[in-house]
Amino acid sequence: MASEEEVEKSVSPEATDDADRQMRRRKRGYLRMYYGVTDEGTGGASAREPANPLDIDSSGFKVDQYMEKMLRNLSLTDLYDKERKVKKETLQLDSNMQHLVYENHSKFIKASETIKEMKDDFQRLEDGMSKLSSRIEGIRSSSNSINEALSERKQQIAKLSSVHHLLKKLQFLFELPGRLNKCLERRAYSQAVNYYVKAQKVLEQYKHLPSFHGIQHDCLAIIDELKTLLKGRLDDQQSSPKMIAEAVDLLLQLQEPPQALCQQYLDNSRRQLESDLLKVETAAKTLPSSTGNDEEDGVVVDAVEFVGVVCNGFLGNMSLIIQSCFDMFIRKKSVCHSTDVAVVSKEALVVFVQELMSRCSSLINDKLTLEAKMLNSAHLARALDRLSGKLHTLDQLLPSAGIYSNCQSMIKMVVHIHTESHAHCLLQNFSSTVTDIRQEIATFKGATPSSTPPLSDHSTALYAAIKTGLDSSLTNLLEFISPDINFTMQDGFRKEFCLKCVRQEVVVDFLNSVIRVCKEFTESSRETVTSYPPSLILILAGVMHQLERSHISYLVSYADEKFSPFEKGKNPATPIDSIVTEAKTTAELLINHYVRMQGQVLAQMIRKSVETRDWLNTIEPRNVRSVMRRMVEEVTVIDKQVGLLFEEGFRKSDGSETSRTFTYSVTKGGNGGYPYSSSHSGLGDSSLLSNIQKLFFEKIEVFGNVEFTKLSIVTGVIKIALKALVECVRLRTFGKYGLQQMQVDAHYLQIYLWRYVSDEQLVRVLLDEVISSTIGRCRDPVLMEQSVVELICENS
């Protein structure tokens, strides 16, 4: 507390601010005291705080206490200091007070002087005011007198001016017929109507007066004439829509019944639209096929042009008519006094529009259905887009006619037909390629007998036919979803188009039909067996195999890529596994069919050669029979052909060595031995050997399934041929030389055929079987020396 006081009292140089503030507060305090104001802030503060008796500034200052405290607390020097300080402060305060009192006194004197001055001024103002009021009173009295003087004249003038107005009106009425006539002459119909409408009410009101009646009569006659003129204009083919609109407007102003007018308007419009429709019809009827040979008819109306005709002619006029109909009858509040008229007119319009639109739709439908089959997607898409856009705007003009929904279903159908015809055309293209290849193969004549048709080319061509056909179709169809075609932008349509139309109906269905077509080649009855060249089957098998392995998934994903831009990565469409499986089975069917066909050809050749020869009385063999050479040739050709389309495949063993050292197992016990004997009697060497061989060699499946490798395919063919040889031999009877001939033949086949088969052992087993069967069917089985056999074969 002591320190506080210290601070408060000290006027240390560093606390001058504080000291100033203290000073001011103190001065204010004195002033307040002087004026008897109890400041809330300070007063409150002083009230709150119990008056500190030690506060030298407080009101509750007790000198005694303060002194006592001082004396008690402070040292002597301090007290001296304090005393000096208090004295100094007291002096300062005194001078301050004096200064204040002086200042305030001079201000009071100045204020009293000012108040005295103001008192004098007010007195002068009061005098001026009284003078002003007396003068205004004078003005008022003189103005009243003037008004009284003029009032009589004013009434007269008003009367006169009203009379003048009436007279003017009457004059207008009297002149009306003349004016109307003039207007009619000048063809200013709207002005005429304007005049008449203005006068009409008055005439109606005063028609009991003979003069007015006459005027009305005249006017009516003229107006009737006008009406007929306007109606004539309505009916007139030449009149422009604007003129018609004007006429209708005027007629409506002339109180013609709107419904009748509307009907008349529609009837007239119908004529116009009929002629447009006729144009559409001619456009639709102009078939490209007929124009080909018809010169004067030679305008090929394609889809875009056709739609142009439709849109510009019929639909344009239609929208114009709907528009003006709305303007004239339906939306015009002034004309349609009740909403009933609007409703009725609208109904009439809807019926009218629907009837004509349905006729037009059927025409469009016919034409576009034709066009849809033309495969020109760009045109069709553009045409449909334009049509759809136009119809959409029409629909917005008149939503209740259901134009757009009809149009959408039609578009859907047309698109459907279009994609279908694409698929159809693709298939036709494929079939014709197949036919072409077939003919080329049939007419093929190589430079050498062993040369083969260019099968790989054909195969490539066939695949190319599939691929490019599909590609061009897809590119064509892409037109439908190109960004400038609006009608496919709707999501539902787009999705359906991409998934159902393109993917399912074009791509998948096409591939399926390709597979089906190929399959049909294997389901041949006897006619087709003979007529299809085996190489064709081979090509088809190759193509099918390729399709199964990679191309189907490629093609489908290619299509998906193009047509599924809106759902990346996720494909809700059906999986392609089933087609691939189907292609696989078909490829297998075809290749097995090929093997069977070729095998049968060889087998038949062998069968004929065995059956027609007298083996019992044949001469000693000098040569390999030509049929065997032919067979080897055939096999070579087959091998070559198959090699063009299929990979080599794997051999079971390296057979080159064995073929060179090959001898018949039967040679050892051949003389007089019976290769087959009953289980009761002892088995000969040869049959034992052959049976053991059989035991270790798995059963040969002759018409088994083959793999898609050259070796496997050719092996299949050879198996069939050799097994046939075995079976045919068993049906014949042989002499010694017959057996030897067979021996030579078999050896020949052995040394030439091993290279074509996957397992050389197989050829060997079958040829063994041939020889042992021949021995079994031989009257006097004596085999030829192996060296001689080899010699003959070498010479051949």
Binding site: N617, E727, R730
Partner: protein
């Protein structure tokens, strides 16, 4: 009930002739003939006792030549027609039809029977195959076809055969007449003959022949058989590895094609009582028992059958018999027991088999 095991019997020589002994009604008997050109041939009478599964045989030595085909008269169980081939004195191979009568003896391991030859059918050279009238009774008739496309009907009521009718097929250039068969309907008035890839019918009432099929089995039809229970239906098999089922009235295409074998099908036969069962033998060494219900005669329905009609049995291979190791050229049903059949492969192995028990009961309870 355990499945019956096959009974296997071996002949000394290669063989392709097999027939059921049609005239025998009590016992299950088969006749097979050997085909060897350098040895004396034999006819084996094989008697199968189903109870004991014991096989008894009786061997008839046959010195006329190798046996291509053997058929047994339905009317006279001892009367047998044997298509015989041999090399004559000029060194030419000749094939003739020999009529023989089997004499004496009961099938026994040791017994040897004797054959009494009734002589060859005169003026028939190059005989391919023969077929007896299936009905037996008073109709002891035989049809024969040779490689000159002559088909003739012989009456063998006495021991001297009489040619009663004959016809020349219009089948120039064809060589294989591998099967001749009576059509068991319409009073047995028609005979079917195969000629290479073609099938001919001979109507013996009108004396007319017709070509029914051609090129349906590749180069050659090997066997035909008429459905014993359903008129107009017959089967054929051949070098295209298929067995096909036909309706005589709709020959544009087969009703059913079974491609179950992997080589030529040489022999096929309907079961005589249950014609949905079809037996076939092939040079892939397999014998197949196939159910071809889709073209079988309607099974007898019980009139009081109120149950849901069961699903019709599908066409399927019932079982594959792999006892043979060489080409099977002949399969035959027993004429005595509908559930027993025999198959003969070229190596002389005769196998007697049964219809699987399941199938048998399925048929009997159907």
């Amino acid at each position: 009930m355990a499945e019956r095991v096959p009974v296997i019997y071996g002949l000394e020589f290669q063989s392709r002739a097999l027939t059921s002994r049609v005239g025998e009604t009590e016992r299950i008997q088969f006749l097979c003939g050997t085909q060897t050109i350098r040895n004396e041939n034999q006819i084996h009478l094989v008697d199968y006792d189903e109870e004991t599964t014991i096989l008894n045989k009786l061997v008839y030595p046959y010195s006329e030549g190798e046996i291509w085909n053997i058929t047994c008269s339905a009317a006279d169980k001892d009367l047998v027609a044997v298509t015989t081939g041999k090399i004559d004195k000029e060194g030419q191979y000749v094939r003739r039809a020999n009529l023989i009568r089997l004499d004496g003896g009961t099938p026994d391991e040791t017994d040897v029977g004797t054959v009494r030859s009734l002589g060859e059918l005169p003026s028939m050279d190059g005989v391919q195959c023969t077929s007896w009238h299936p009905a037996g009774g008073s109709h002891n008739q035989l049809v024969v076809v040779n490689d000159k496309a002559n088909v003739s009907l012989w009456s063998v009521d006495t021991d001297t055969p009489q040619e009663t009718s004959k016809v020349q097929l219009d089948s120039r250039g064809r060589l294989n007449y591998s099967s001749i068969s009576w059509n068991s309907h319409h009073n047995y008035s028609t005979v079917l003959v195969t000629a290479d890839s073609a099938l001919y019918s001979w109507d013996m009432r009108t004396k007319k022949t017709h070509q029914l099929l051609d090129h349906h089995h590749g180069p050659c039809i090997r066997d035909i058989d008429s459905n014993p229970n359903r008129p107009y239906y017959f089967l054929s098999c051949g070098d295209d590895c298929t067995t096909q089922f036909w309706d005589w009235r709709k020959l544009q295409g087969p009703l059913v094609t079974r491609r179950d074998h992997s080589h030529w099908v040489w022999s096929a036969q309907y079961n005589l009582s249950y014609d949905q069962l079809v037996l076939s033998g092939s040079s892939d060494s397999q014998v197949l028992l196939t159910r071809v219900a889709s073209v079988a005669s309607e099974p007898l329905k019980h009139l009081d059958d109120e149950d849901e009609p069961a699903l019709p049995p599908t066409d399927n291979v019932i079982s594959v018999y792999e006892e043979h190791e060489d080409s099977v050229y002949n399969v035959k049903w027993s004429t005595t027991d509908a559930w027993v059949f025999a198959s003969l492969s070229y190596d002389g192995r005769l196998v007697i088999n049964h219809v699987p028990t399941n199938e048998k009961y399925a048929i009997l309870t159907a």
